[in-house]
Structure formats: structure tokens, C-alpha cells
Amino acid sequence: MSEHTFQPRIIAFCCNWCSYAGADLAGVSRLQMPADFHIIRVMCSARVAPEWVIKALLNGIDGVMVLGCHIGDCHYISGNHRAAKRFVLLKEMLSFVGVNPDRLLVDWVSASEGRKFQKLVTEFIERVRELGACGQRHVEIQTPHR
């Protein structure tokens, strides 16, 4: 597959209360976007286990989005705080093992932000398209050393 026609495969974990609803609104508003993303609904962004992201990147998924409620709006009070903290660490880990951390995007989409959902998805897909398929090269970024 040439780089020009590369279609990345993306999974977007969306929380039931905000970002999934935001994605629904994007649909209702008929906001067009590339078809490379696949939504997996979870109740809260805090349910997204960091291992899932690794599993995805090991199984032919080229990029993962974790989308939750805006900070302060979490249906479960503080779930998105948890998610925010966990994925900072995961990004560092990815980077450490040589996977470009840009393959993981964590952001917040409210139920009223169909346009933001469209924008995030479109830009993320474009970014992952630039990075190419995950796992095609063993080292995407230089492994840090002292």
C-alpha cells in the first residue's frame, strides 16, 4: 500500500454521556468526515484501560482516541480526571518503547460539540495518515537513552 492511499484504522473510545452524544450530534448534523474511525462506547473515559490502547496498536489499529466529558462535567464526578492522568503516563510509555505518542489522542467533547468531534476526528486521522501504519517500522521515534 503506497503512502498516498494509506487508510489508517482508528478506534475512538467515547463515553456514553458526552463524547458519544457529541458524535451522535455530528451525525444528526450530517457533518462529513473520513470513515477511518470506529467508535467503541464505554460508560466513562475512566473505563478505558491503558492496556486497551496497547492492544489496539498491536492489532492493526494505527491510532486511538479517548474522548470524555469536559473536565468538571463528568457524569461520574471525576472519571475524566482519572483518564487525563492515566493517558499522560501511557503516552510517556508509548514514547519510551518507540511508538509515536501522537497515535493516542485524549480530548474532551461535550454532547453539544458535534463540530468539535468532526474537527478532532478529521485532524487526528490526518495526523495518523502522516505517521503511517503502526508497527510497520519498529522504531518510530528514537528510544531515549542516557
Partner: protein, 563 residues
Amino acid sequence: MSETRVGVFVCHCGTNIGGVVDVPAVVEYARALPYVAHVEGNLYSCSEEGLSSLKQSIHEHHLNRVVVASCTPRTHEPLFKNACEEAGLNRYLFEFVNIREHCSWVHSREGDVATDKAKRLIRMGVAKACLLEPQDEAESGVIPVALVIGGGIAGMTAALNLARQGFHVHLVEKEAQLGGRLLQINQLCPTDEESFGLIGPIIQEVEEHGQITLYVSSTVSEVSGYVGNFQITVAADDGEQKFDAGTIIVATGADVLQPVGMYGYGQFPNVLTQLELEDRLKAEPPIVAGAVLINCVGSRIPERPYCSRVCCMTSLKNATQLKKLNPDAHVYVLHRDLLTYGVEFERYYRQAMKAGVRFLRYDLENPPQIVGRGRAENVVVWDALRGRELHLPVDLVVLSTPLVPGPDNATISRLLKVPLGESGFFLEAHIKLRPVEFATDGIYVCGTTRWPADVSESISQAYAASTKAAIPMRMGVVTAEAITAYSEPSFCTGCGTCVVTCPFNAIELQMHGNGRQVASVNVVQCKGCGSCVAACPSKAMQQRGFTDWQVLRMIEACGSWID
């Protein structure tokens, strides 16, 4: 265990899906997926015809998992789950795939691409469906007894609303007398009626009501349990009392800021707060030749950025009162902005102007100065609109200070495990979708402990909170959707990570059979966020309907490596 037989129902949704996605091709694709026993396309899966076909297929093809690929679970999931249940299938053996909002509608110009995506989404849905398990919804009883904390206007209104419906109410007031803040107030705006005229009869009704048990000079000292079944301890000087309650309403009111060190307060005897003026107006109404009322004293500043909402009206009320007591008096209200929301209060403002109260705007850069020897004699203020300094002779300076969180908020927040907002007032679950209730089921909030509010707002909130509290008590049971977390004792190391992660205090460590401590989830308290599951370092914690293996199978099914 019988073999897994998945039925897949692909909806055209008229042309909404069918006009973009090649549904017959998707149907053919799904037929070849592992464990799929039956596939059909429906013009509208949610129609009477679609639903009866679904139910019939469950019987005919002995389906034990159902996947519907159509629109969003946020609107249609209950419909299909009910249909499964009607066909004798546990409602948790159903999986929804959204190929409309997230596919046909947003890729409407790329039919081929959308068709491929719909196939993959169904592949993922089937992969998860194979691993779904039947679930029972947990039910627990609700004691028809409420605890109301706070005997002010909000608490008393809530208590009476419940007592009149036949529920027993325990009303706890920390002061010796019911009535709260309104006992200190002279008149109420915008009607100028005597405050005691309003609460007097309410106090009497509460005291005489057979369904209300009253605890004065008492505080709540311990709370355990969950919605439907709280165990309460109330402490007073003469000992403790214990009782059970199904619901709790927090109506503990607010404090008024003491403006120590501001505008000569504490230094000059004739600088009062609005509350002190109320007292004076009740006892011996002051006749003054000049008075200045300063608004926003200690509010809308960096350390207390909020507007206390009730002070503008209080200021209007008392300025007009001083003007009535001496029509020749020069009465000024110094404000930063005047907020007289609503028809009644706007009229109230106009009345005050008509009565001769003068309004001057100051800004924070040039705050008014109080000058005098031994007592406040002049207020020097920079009139921001006219751009000049004014010297106002005064007999009286009144400071409008904001309502601030009550001193017990932190304690009550800890006791009930409900959150306080940034400013220290209680934080309800959702300002629009779930006002006056906490995220924790069975606990409600009303009045000024929630946010500065006037009397009529406090009363409205009290009715709202008590009516919400009546719902579970009237139903007698609460059920929880079976998406709760559970722990596998043989994997659990008892580390307690889940316990501290849970925002709802639904998890505790309990002694397991073999003398080990393991996590135990209270399914009535668990709201099913799954935060503890992701946090568990031993993978002992799982979430019904969102287990690791269900989601991992979906991820595998999405991957390009199995295309």
C-alpha cells in the same frame, strides 16, 4: 452451555442508512461471521414489523444473542432490549451497533467506504455479543423515611412536603429554634411582608405535624448506608439517637460574611452589615439624615468571585425602608452593578428610585472611603459615571456582604460523601439535567447551602428536592442497571486501589472466606463508570457489559490484520 447463536438485524432506516450503505451486501457479510446463526435486513428495525420479526427470529432460530445495527443506543436501546425480553431473552444479551449517526450520516457521499465501515462495526458488535452474559438487575428496598438536615425555610418546606405525603421525616436543626436565617430578617422583598409572618405558621405546622420528628440543638454525627437504607446518628448535648432513613435532604443554609476590617467595620459603631440593620429595624428603626449602603462588599473579588444574588434586593429593600422612615434622608446605594432580575425585582428597583434612593456606581479601582473621628461621618466615593469625587455625609453606613458557605458544609460533605463546588457551596449532579440532587443517589440539596438564593427560590428548590426524594420512597424499591463492577476474589489482592478510585464509595474491602481481604462492590451504590476496573492492577475488577475480554475482542475485530 448451549452453543452461541447470534442474530444480526441490519436496519435500512428507510434511506437514512440504506441510501448510503449497501445493506444487502452487509447482510451477506454478516452471515459469514463466526457464531452468526441468522441475519436479516429490515426497512425499519424499530417499527412494529421489525420488532415482531426480531422476536419471531429469536424463537425460530434459537438465537441467544441479538445484534441490531441501526441508530444510536442513546435513544433506541431500551426498545430493542425490551423486545428481546419479550421474546424470553435476557435483555443484557443484546448489543447495539450504530451505523447511522457514526456511519451513513457522516460518510453520506462515500457509499463504498461507508459499507465497508458498517461491515467492520457489525463485526465488532458480533465479537462483543458472543461474550455477553445474562445479568440480573439488583433491587433494594427503600425505607419511606427521610432525613432533612436544616430547619430553615428550605428544610422546613421540604420536610412538610414529604410529611404531607405521608412519609415520616426526621428534621435536624443545630440551633435551639426552627426558622433559620429568616428569624433575623425584618421584612421580605419584594412584598415587604414581615419575615416572621411567613415562617411563624410554617414553624408551627412543622412542630405540630405528627409525621415529623424534630431534633433541635442537634447535629448529624454519623451517616452510613446508601439510597433506601441510610443509618443516621444524631448527636445532641443529652446524648445520641439513631434511626434509619431512605433519603436525605441537605438544607443547612449559608452564613453571611462578616466584613471585618472593611469600610471601617468594627472600627466605627455606625458601620453595620445588612443583617445588623435588619435587627435594628425590628427593634428601634433608625431615623437617619444620611445613609450609604455599599454593595458587593467582599464579593465579586478574586478570593470570592461569585455574585451572592440576594444582596442587591436586600439593599433596595433597606434603602427604601430608611427613606420611608425619614423621607428627607439622603440615602445612597453604591454598587458595582445592580442585578434586579425578573419582573418583580425590576419593579422593586423602580420603586426605590421613585422613593428617592440614589444609585451611584463605583469600581474596584476606586472603592468608597469611610472617613470620620470615632464614627463614620463621610463617605468619599469616585462616581465612575460622572467622573468626579463625591463627599456624602452619613449617620449610617450599611455593608451588603455575600452569603458564604456555612461552617458545617465541609463536615456534611465528608459525612455524606457529596461534593462541594469551588466556592464551598454544595455541588449538585448536573446544573440542568439533575438539579437539587447529588450524583450519589438518594441525597438531595436545596436552599442557600446549594448557592445564594432568595426565599422564594429556596422554597421552590425545597419542593423540587423533596419531590425527587419522594420518588424512590413512593416506589419502595430502587433498581440499578446491571453495568456494575464486580470483583473476582481469587484475583483480588486486597490492595484497595479500587476503593479509593470509586467516586461513589461503592467498594469496600471485606474479609473473604480464607481470611484475606478482598474488594466487594455494592451494586446498588455502583453507577457503572468502570473507573475501578481500569485502575485494578490485578485485573480482578470487571464491569458487567464492558469486560476487558469483551472490549479486547471488539478491538481485535476492528483491526486491519483480520480484514
